[in-house]
């Protein structure tokens, strides 16, 4: 509901989305759209949509877009950016897309410090395909492909992508944020805007991981989903800035 209180930015089309009630994808779209709007770069923005619940985000952003194959968005974005160096190119990807099938693509785009922004939506599950285990699913988390709970001995622990990518020299900015309450939403907005500012200045790769809910596949009400996120995801996926030139200086 929160997003309905404000005027819709021109970077977002005024049409209903297909997201489930209580899903954070819509809020995150909104923050991305606002950042692009506020930086005044709608005209030169080119987005890359993933395969996942946000596959149709090319219908929602009022921005030129390309729909990538599952996990390949950073490679597609690289191709676009190398053709239009002046463009503000970004990818929007889920955790299955980015941390599983597209792990190589994101690592190498980050390592090259490709001058793009990645918005990484981590909801600890495969939403679109009906709630299977993701590389970010928590130990013990019950999903349709981990019906007895994720087992550490056979599946390992969930990948902390922000921490992992921060070990690379390439990235200029890496932050993990959440949109579970107004204070965090403001921080999320600031981080996303920062990531796009770096993009506009052509400084290099920037990624914002946004912890997100999937009430439908978690089998919870929207309210329960937010508290599950706070209780289970926040301890394992701590919020914060993992890499920033300013921090380094």
């Amino acid at each position: 509901m929160t997003e309905k209180l404000f005027a819709i930015p021109a970077t977002l089309k005024d049409i209903p989305t297909h997201y489930c009630p209580g899903c954070h994808h819509g809020i995150i779209h909104r923050l991305v759209a606002e950042a692009i709007q506020e930086l005044g770069v709608q005209d030169k923005a080119i987005g890359v949509a993933p395969v996942g619940c946000s596959v149709l985000c090319y219908d929602y952003f009022n921005i030129d877009m390309q729909e990538a194959a599952h996990g390949r968005a950073p490679a597609v974005a690289t191709g676009i950016k190398r053709v239009h160096p002046e463009a503000v190119v970004f990818t929007y990807q889920g955790d299955g897309d980015l941390a599983s099938i597209g792990c190589a693509e994101i690592v190498h785009a980050a390592a090259r410090s490709e001058k793009i922004t990645t918005i990484f939506v981590n909801n600890a599950i495969y939403g679109m395909t009906g709630g299977q285990m993701a590389p970010t699913s928590l130990v013990g988390q019950v999903t349709t492909t981990s019906p007895y709970g994720r087992k550490e001995d056979s599946c390992g622990k969930p990948i902390q992508m922000s921490e992992m990518l921060s070990t690379l020299h390439g990235p200029k900015f890496i932050a993990r944020v959440a949109v579970n309450n107004p204070a965090n939403m403001a921080k999320a907005k600031a981080a996303i805007k920062k990531a796009f500012e770096i993009n506009v200045k052509g400084e290099g790769f920037a990624l914002v991981e946004v912890l997100s809910t999937c009430p439908t596949n978690w089998g919870m009400s929207p309210v329960e989903a937010v508290s599950w996120l706070e209780k289970n995801m926040l301890p394992y996926f701590p919020l914060g800035i993992f890499k920033s030139e300013e921090v380094a200086k």
């Binding site: 030169k44 080119i46 390309q66 729909e67 490679a75």
Partner: protein, 355 residues
Amino acid sequence: MAEKILMKGNEAIGEAAVVAGCRHYFGYPITPQSELIEYMAKRLPQVDGVFLQAESEVSAINMVYGAAGAGARVMTSSSSPGFSLKQEGISYIAGAELPCVLVNVQRGGPGLGSIQPGQADYFQATKGGGHGDYHNIVIAPNSVQELVDMTILSFDLADQYRNPVVLLADGAIGQMMEPVEFREVTAKNIEKPWASTGLHGRSETNVINSLFLKPDECEKHNKHLQEKYAVIEKNEVRYESIHVEDADLVLVAYGITSRIVFSAMEKARKEGMKVGLIRPISLWPFPYKPIEDASAHAKAFLTVEMSAGQMVEDVRLAVGRTKPVYFYGRTGGMIPNSAEIYDQIVTIMQAKGGK
């Protein structure tokens, strides 16, 4: 007229791409095409182009998707195992109708196979390779000069039809040195109003996409693709036909194999045997008609490939059941020699009662 220079096949493809106006290349090293990626690494920066060594063939083809969708003339190249990895991306490129040139310098397979020349990726190139109903335009040169001319042609065809074009070469032509001439080309400046470039004042967004959630819309898109393929089949069949008019035996071969078959044919002609050659240049669309026409007077056909028999299926389709279609192939990176092929010719001619 431009002067002739001696060039290696793989490098000639690279220079031809530059001449055609290609300024973006994404690839991953693999034998026997590495001279091409190395040539692009050296050459593209000299013309303000972009060379990028991708982390895998999967990434390379998706970079091609992004660059083609952004409106650029773009190329990638690989050899058999690497080309297999590109198939997912090629299906998306075909679905989203993105123009690009994809070079496969074939080697022996399956699996890691061998690094010597092969022609066993014919099915993959001409029948789909990736998922869904789609076609690449497939062009098969047989000399270094043709690598040049057909690389340039491939970029034009790709833009004209908004379709991926596969330049299907092999390790032999890729590695061979021959004199080539770069004719003056006027790079066609094709408008791409569909490309995702950023709005820049445009009111409707441009979306590069192959997803149609509603099945009726997906079928409509498929119908559109099939209509386009029908136009290509009508307009873009290319082949060479030598001594076919009076031939009792028609040989069919493409790429490097066609040159070896040609010399076997010459020898047979000198011995008085009426042997001809049809060389498909476009493997898709395949020259069914000239082969079918030849079957009216020819007594038999012999297809020669560096495979266990792939193109021969198309030759059989063209000929039907009226005349026998024989096959001779070498696999795994072995190149047939003209004496082997000559022996095949003699055996068939004797059985058919020809001289």
